[in-house]
């Protein structure tokens, strides 16, 4: 399997570069702090008392500081949206890096867990050393009150000890609830435990108070090794605390509301419905973005879990009533709070000359916004050709956006650009004879294929038709499809065409 260098460089290069830089920063911090405590004069006596445990614990603490300050940044949605939206500040390469923010967050989190284990083990050894090697020569250096004091008392009686235990417990709760299985089966456990990060940071600020590790402040007059008994004060060592922080049922269009924002397309919003649950915010991609002519926005939501089923019940219960209200239709829709809009990787569709959009099932929602925007005015964008592949399990799913697709096709045909939009629909459920029989959807029924798409052939066709161009590949669907596309982007046989891979995920 040959690797297409141009595509590989565009897809994997920046990611690996940032990973290398981050690992190098961690290694540098660890090494530098280790050497400071190992060989610096001001820590000489402390080092003699505690040994290697001191160096390892402080070095891992500096790595923990670094990662705790970084771990919150990839999760700042508004900051990411701002960076994505500003055309002058960032180029496309940087914006594509922002798509990997969740992976970076996970990497920092795992590093925090690993180095916490190292840090705690080293401090346990330190506790025992403080107790066993109680120093009568330098009483200011001691944390224990007498030789042989039980180290567990040291943990309970010092501020760093107690806060350290609490930090480990909070980290334990957060870490165990964030595995893939728990996120898929009960997202609430993950969400509520992960919001304990506020408690984690507050305790972290307090953790460094108390000054258990001291450095010598008069190294010039009393160099290490000298046995003069006139010692001046031991200053508390304050380490700088860094501040760091969807099943069955057709989707239903919801809430055409007055909009007060000018988004790029497409984006997602967070919905909170207090009558369903006061704490849960759920992301939904906008399928209808507000434009100059129409200042409303809309979403499509698929009823899969308990929040969405309860929400849809609240919305639909009006239509079930059989009373006829002649004077005024009293519709009491539930109040909905909206947060956003936040940027998503699919915003880049318009910045390529040729784009391939692959949607799996409900993953079509980001691209519905793209199609809607093209329908309103396709001329103003850099995009010259759009390949749209939609894979579904049921035939009924294609009806969600059938009107939009047919409308766009007619509009492009009237404007004499029939080659702009290239639609392929795939029905992966091969049981029975299925076809779209309505007359007005003839455009779709002739493009419907039964069976799974053959990605290699599709890539070959696109590569041949668009040589020497950069094709943006956008995928929103199940893991199998996105993995296959990612591999094909990096190893396609058409080395003149570069395929840049962008993935959007919901969870």
């Amino acid at each position: 399997m040959s690797v297409a260098l141009k595509s590989w460089r565009a897809n994997e290069g920046p990611k690996h570069l940032i990973t290398m830089v981050w690992i190098a920063a961690n290694v540098f911090l660890f090494w530098k702090t280790f050497m400071v405590y190992f060989s610096e004069a001001q820590y000489y006596y402390l080092h003699k008392m505690l040994g290697l445990g001191l160096c390892i614990s402080r070095a891992s603490a500096s790595v923990l500081n670094f990662n705790c300050s970084l771990v919150l940044l990839p999760m700042c949605r508004s900051l990411l949206t701002f960076l994505r939206g500003s055309q002058r500040v960032t180029g496309r390469r940087v914006r594509r890096l922002l798509d990997k923010s969740k992976t970076f967050h996970v990497a920092c989190g795992v590093t925090i867990c690993i180095f916490s284990v190292v840090h705690v083990s080293a401090h346990l050894v330190n506790m025992v050393s403080f107790s066993v090697r109680y120093s009568e020569d330098f009483p200011g250096l001691n944390v224990a009150q007498y030789r042989g004091q039980d180290p567990r008392i040291l943990i309970i009686s010092t501020v760093p000890g107690v806060t350290g235990v609490l930090l480990v417990l909070v980290l334990f709760l957060m870490f165990t609830a964030s595995s893939y299985c728990i996120r898929v089966s009960s997202y609430e456990i993950f969400w509520y435990t992960h919001n304990l990060f506020i408690v984690f940071y507050v305790i972290l600020m307090v953790h460094v108070a108390g000054g258990a590790l001291k450095y010598q402040s008069n190294v010039e007059t009393h160099p290490p090794g000298c046995l003069h008994n006139n010692l001046s004060s031991w200053t508390n060592h304050k380490a700088a605390g860094e501040k760091g922080a969807e099943s069955s049922g057709a989707p239903q269009t919801v809430c055409q509301e007055e909009a007060h924002f000018q988004p790029h397309f497409p984006q997602y919003i967070l919905l909170n419905c207090p009558s369903v649950s006061s704490f849960e915010n759920h992301p939904f991609t906008l399928t209808t973005c507000p434009t100059g002519k129409n200042q409303t926005f809309g979403i499509h939501l698929r009823v899969l879990g308990d929040w969405t089923s309860r929400f849809s019940q609240l919305l639909l219960q009006q239509s079930n009533s059989s009373e006829i209200l002649p004077m005024m239709q009293q519709r009491r829709y539930p109040t909905v709070h909206v947060d956003g809009p936040f940027g998503s990787p699919s915003e880049e569709v318009f910045n390529y000359e040729v784009s391939l959009c692959v949607a799996g099932g409900i993953g079509v929602t980001p691209f519905a916004c793209v199609l809607q925007a093209l329908f309103d005015d396709w001329r103003q964008y850099k995009l010259k050709r759009l390949y749209f592949v939609w894979v579904c399990r049921d035939l009924q799913s294609f009806y969600w956006f059938a009107d939009l697709l047919c409308g766009l096709h007619e509009r492009l045909w009237r404007d004499n650009r029939p080659d702009y939009l290239n639609v392929q629909l795939y029905l992966s459920n091969t049981q029975g004879l299925q076809s779209i029989s309505e007359e007005r959807y003839r455009f779709l029924s002739s493009r419907l294929r039964i069976g799974r798409p053959k990605w290699k052939l599709i890539f070959q066709e696109i590569g041949r038709a668009n040589q020497l161009k950069r094709v943006g590949v956008f995928c929103c669907g199940p893991k199998g499809i996105s993995k296959a596309l990612h591999t094909l982007c990096n190893s396609n046989p058409h080395t003149e065409t570069a395929f840049e891979y962008n993935k959007e995920s919901f969870s």
């Binding site: 705690v120 025992v128 480990v168 334990f172 709760l173 728990i182």
Partner: protein, 186 residues
């Protein structure tokens, strides 16, 4: 809101707690701390908890994802029957195993984490959950329809059966056999 499966979270917690318990025990024994016998017990208890908790239970509804290579552990754990199936037993077992860890410095954290896992298991047991093994399904393979083995009786062209019905009065001139009986005036 909604039905939360506590047992799944408790399973992840106890697996992590077992690892923490064992690591603390190793540190304690390696450093020859005072009370290192408790640390040795911690290693054994941690490893036992890890082995017990490695096979995931089958979910109440939805797809269950196995851990890699968990089949042999599933068989072993399943062999103990109601002892391992019941979560009350597991909760009390973890509570009992974690107590000796509190007597020694290095295993204190393992003790606390295992205690929390034991509490979550108690909550799972109160909600009526129990452990189900994930065993591979032995379904009979899909049977191909029998008609596929018989060659077609009619010469081509062969329209589908519903179009093959001919009017009863034209039976003599019909070129096809009628798989369905026809009557006049239908």
């Amino acid at each position: 809101m909604g039905k939360i499966e506590w047992a799944m979270w408790a399973n992840e917690q106890s697996l992590a707690a077992g690892l923490i318990y064992a690591t603390g025990g190793i540190v304690g024994v390696a450093g020859q701390f005072r009370g290192w016998q408790f640390a040795a017990f911690g290693i054994a208890a941690g490893v036992f908890v890890c082995l017990l908790e490695y096979p995931r239970s089958k979910r109440g509804k939805g797809t269950s994802v196995e851990r890699t290579g968990q089949y042999c552990f599933t068989v072993c754990v399943n062999a103990f029957g109601p002892l391992t199936r019941n979560y009350y037993v597991r909760a009390f077992l973890h509570a009992a195993l974690c107590v000796p860890g509190g007597f020694m410095l290095a295993t204190v954290l393992g003790c606390v984490c295992l205690g929390i896992a034991s509490l979550i298991y108690l909550s799972a047991a109160i909600h009526g959950e129990h452990w189900e093994p994930i065993l591979p399904r032995t379904e009979p393979p899909k049977r191909v329809g029998d008609s596929i083995k018989e060659p077609p009786q009619n010469p081509p062209p062969r329209p589908p059966p519903e179009l093959r019905r001919k009017k009863a009065d034209k039976l003599e001139t019909a070129a096809y056999d009628n798989p369905m009986s026809v009557t006049v005036n239908e």
